[in-house]
Every structure is written in C-alpha cells, then in structure tokens.
Amino acid sequence: MYRYTDFDTAFLAERNRQFRAQVERRISGALTEDEFKPLRLMNGLYLQLHAYMLRVAIPYGTLSSAQMRQLALLAEKWDKGYGHFTTRQNIQYNWPKLTDVPDMLDALAEVGLHAIQTSGNTIRNVTADHFAGAAADEVADPRPVAELLRQWSTDHPEFQFLPRKFKIAVTGAPNDRAVIKAHDIGIEVVRRGDEIGYRILVGGGLGRTPMIGKEIAAFVPQADLLPYVEAVVSVWNLLGRRDNKYKARIKITVHEHGIDEIRRLVEDRFVETRAAFNGADLEIFDHIRAQFAPPAFRNAPDDVYDAAYATDPVFRAWADTNLTAHKVPGYAIAQISLKAHGETPGDASAEQMRVLADLAERFGHDELRISHEQNVVLPHVHRSDLPKMHKILKAHGLATANIGRISDIIACPGMDYCALATARSIPIAQKIATRFDELKTEADIGELKIKISGCINACGHHHVGHIGILGLDRGGVETYQITLGGDATQDAALGDRTGPGFSYEDIVPAIERIVGAYLEQRESPEETFLQAYRRLGMAPFKAALYDTADAQSEAA
C-alpha cells in the first residue's frame, strides 16, 4: 500500500492548519457562509438535513487495518458510533459539529487519510476495482495509476474551479467492477503486446441525464497517461457549460460536440500538455508501483476449508455467495456484507470496523477494501483461515450471505440525511431486504441487483441497477419510479422506465410482483433476472406491475 512521503504529510498538515483557521474565521464572523461554503466543500464538509456531514476519501477503496481503526475512532469520538460507506468508496460521518471537524481531519492525517476534494467542482476521489491486486482476470493492479491520478489531481491549480465535479474510475480487468462507463473519465488498464497502457473512456455519468461513456482513446501508453488525462480535463474546463449547472458535466459537452470533435480538441491540447511533462511523473509512478507489490502469499493446505464447506451449511451458504476466486491458488477474495437484512446499506458500527481491522490484520495481509456496492472486502484470505474468520464475522453481525442477491442493495442516504434528496431511500432498502428474507426466496432468485436513489442525482446508481428505484417528490408525496434492465458492468446499460411510479407503501409489493414475473417466466433457475429481462423485454413485467388484481387495488 502507498505510504505517505514527507511531502504528503507536510502538505496535509498545512492544508488542515488552513482549514482550522477558516473554521475559526467563520465562527468569529470574519467569513460569511458564502465565502466559507466553497472552502468547507473543498474539505469534504457538507451541511445536510439534520447536521453537518464529513465525507472522507478512501482512495481507490483501499484501507489498512490502522486506517480502519482510525475511522472507528472518529465514529465513536465525534459521531454517533457508526459511519456510512458510499458508492464512491468514501465514508460519511453524519453528525459532526463544525467545531470538531478540524480535530477529525488531524486524526485522519495521522493515518494518511483526508477529505480533500470529496466535494466541490474538483476532481473527486479516484475510485478503482475493489478486487484490485487480487482478481484472477486482472491485466495489472489499477491502484498505482489511481494513486498517481490522486497525486496529480490534488490541489491541481488548473482544476480547482471546474465547471462541475469530475469523477475518475480505474479498472485493471476487462470485467468491470468499478462502473467505469458511468464516470466522467473511465480508465481500463490494457495490454498491447508486452506493453501496458490505458483505454480511456469519456463522458459517462448518471444523474439527471444519464450517459454511457464513449471511447476517446483505445491505447494511451504509460508515458502519455497524465498529459492525456490533463488534456481531456483541460478541454472540458474551457468548453464546459458554466452557464447551466445541469449541462456542465463533461457528458453533456461530449454529447453536444460529439466524441470525434472532443477527441480532435483533446489531441490538439495533448501536444501542449505532453510538452509540459518532463518525465518526473514516470519516476513517481515507479515509486508508487513498488509500494503496491503483492503481499507474501503463503502455500498451505486448505482441507480445513473443504471440511467446513462439507459439514457447515451456514458457512457453505456464505462461501457460495461472498467468496470470489483469487489469482493465487489457495486464496480467496472475501466480501463482508454491510447489508444485513433490515439494516442500513453501507453502515458499519465502530465495533464492526474494529473487528474488520482485526480480521484484516490476522487473516488478510493487513488490507481492506470498500466496494462501490457499499460492502467491505478482504482481498487476500487464505482458504484455510476462512472458517475461523466466518465464526468471528457471525458473532458481530457481519456474516450475511447475500452478495449479489436481492438484499445486497445499493442505497444513497436519501431524505433521511441528504439535503438534496426528494424522497427516502434507506427505509425502502430495509423493507425490500426484510420482505425477501421473510419469503426465503433470495437464493432461488439468484443474482439481482437493486439500486435506489433518493433523487435525480443518482448517487444510488439506480440507472444501472437490474431493478432501479428512483424516489421523487410528486405533489408533496414520496413517489418511486422503477427502471428495469440496467447493468453496471463492461456491458453497461441504462434501465428502462416501467411507467407510473408507486407510493412509499406500494413500492415493495411492486418489486415483489416484478420478481414474481421473473420467477414465473425464466427458462431455468440458471437464467438470471437480467438475462430474462433481455430475452422477454418490458411487457411481462409491465403487465405484472400494472395489470394484476393487486395493482388494480393499489390504483383504486
């Protein structure tokens, strides 16, 4: 993992000192709220519905156990004992006081964490595949390049006042687990012969006007990566619509000008940016990459695993859903679900964070990941340690066996916390998970990803959910629109709207009818919901939603 240099440490200390002084000036009255707001946003501090909210970046979703313990400390000391992991691999604290935030930032700096550029019209936390460095299908670990981009974008003088926010995601594998096609820039590590390079996508994004990213360059060599990305952001910085914030994102710029024109402008600008880079970035990249060397994997028998798998059905159920093949034989990638039925998706208590840190230290080469799906990942666990680990997880409410299932729901904070939300998300997720747990149909339903957003900004990725739910305010009533057929992978697709929305009371029965139609019409249990939707189209689901007796009685 990346270790801060003296430069990094000094930079962060100075930045935190500045913010502490800015907070003092706000409280003394020397700064107005209009002057203070952009400063606090640059440091991840929002004012939400019931309190301030501090959003802390977890660069490319990677944490050490010491960092996780510090996140637990913040939750306990300055919040209400928990934190909320988000779809951008950040953690949010929902209840800090303004006067406590400088101390929280200093505490984060002790373990090399910060909240810089987790908000505002800047380049945001760079996200990456949560299986990075462990996945069997990987060309190369995407995190060194994500770290390089983090260093390049942090406090980049040209990019502190962009037309709007700007999000970058990186995958090192052809199977995209980082939703790169829904980012302003998506980067895929690719190989051409012996050379590693980067495929660059641009103009993806969800929100009000969802767009799938388009390829702007098929192969950018390592030496050209930063100047190329800088050229892209630079072209948009000049061209982007500052007159209308709903049209300011690069997806609109690409849509309005066309990808070919944007590519031409970027290539012109690239000539200039390329000349301004002197190769120092390549030295830094080598230095970074050396710190992401794989851990010392061990070679040990794993018959303990096989025995537990054969004799313990609870362990077997968990292993079947929550484990993924590792690139090293004998190892597994373990996903720890933060989606216990009826709980808030993505929330972890301070105690759970400490348990996860201990497990990472004991069994996981001291590494943890946060996935954009709001779960925790222990990327390197030897199979022989899994039964022991599972016992400890069970004792702390962390052994829910539901990864990829209908209760593994992405949900934004919605109107329970967010000032922008138009309806609640969290209780909808809780009710769906609880309902399908009661029905005991989760295993039979199989892979089904529900994603819920509490407003059009789509933090809950509803457009790319197999079932997407969007909460809106319709005439002063919480109303939920449904989309079907979205896909967040390399085959990214936006879901199609079913029709009129449903009330808070009726949305869970509506989801049940959709799932019922799938179970009835699938060709076999092997045909997933998404496959069935692609084969059948909207009609049978629409009929189940709107034409059945249940639907009629709701309408009455």
Binding site: R26, I27, S28, G29, T32, E33, L47, Q48, L49, H50, A51, Y52, K80, N94, W95, P96, K97, L98, T99, T344, M415, D416, Y417, R424, I426, P427, Q430, D473, G476, V477, E478
Partner: protein, 99 residues
C-alpha cells in the same frame, strides 16, 4: 385572485451543531417546531426572514417553510419538513432522540 398566503415559520440550521432551528417570537432560535413563531402575514414573514438571515454567525441557510397551525403549535405540511423536525427514519437519532 392571488393564492392565499400559507402560514410560515423561519427555519435554518445552527452554525455550530448543524441541527434544525426555528425562529421564535422572542427572536430566539429554538430546536422544537412547536415553539416557532407562526407567520400569517406575507410582509411580516419577509421582514422576519431578512432579520434572521442577517444572523449569519448563528444560523445557515435561512428560509421560510410552510406550516399549518395545529393544537400543539405549527405542523409541517410537507414530508421534508416533517423529517427535519423529527430526524432520520433508520436510527433513533436527531430531534426525536432529544425530546
């Protein structure tokens, strides 16, 4: 005919704590909607809004929210204001916990 003026309260978030506050008739910021001053005259409401907005060292994001007069003081007419006066629905946190 112009629409009749819907009764209002002045509301904001406290600068330090960030929690929801309402303006009372004696100019104090109060935490409980029941104690807020109900403004039934549009001109008066605008003046109270201006006065409250000037207190930038105490409160952030001052605005007028619709209410309906009730037996226990002003009642929210929109669900957002109902959540603001109560707290989140997933935990017993916020105002509902401090009553």
């Amino acid at each position: 005919m112009p629409k009749p003026f819907a009764p209002k309260v002045v509301t904001a978030n406290a600068l330090i704590e960030g929690d929801v506050v309402y303006l009372a008739a004696d100019d104090a910021w109060v935490r409980d909607l029941a104690q807020a001053e109900i403004l039934t005259d549009e001109a008066v409401a605008q003046v109270r809004l201006l006065e409250a907005s000037a207190r930038a060292h105490e409160a952030v994001g001052v605005y007028l929210a619709d209410v309906a007069p009730g037996t226990t003081g002003p009642q929210p007419t929109h669900f957002r204001e109902d959540f603001r006066r109560r707290g989140p629905s997933n935990y017993y946190h916020g105002k509902q916990a401090s009553r």
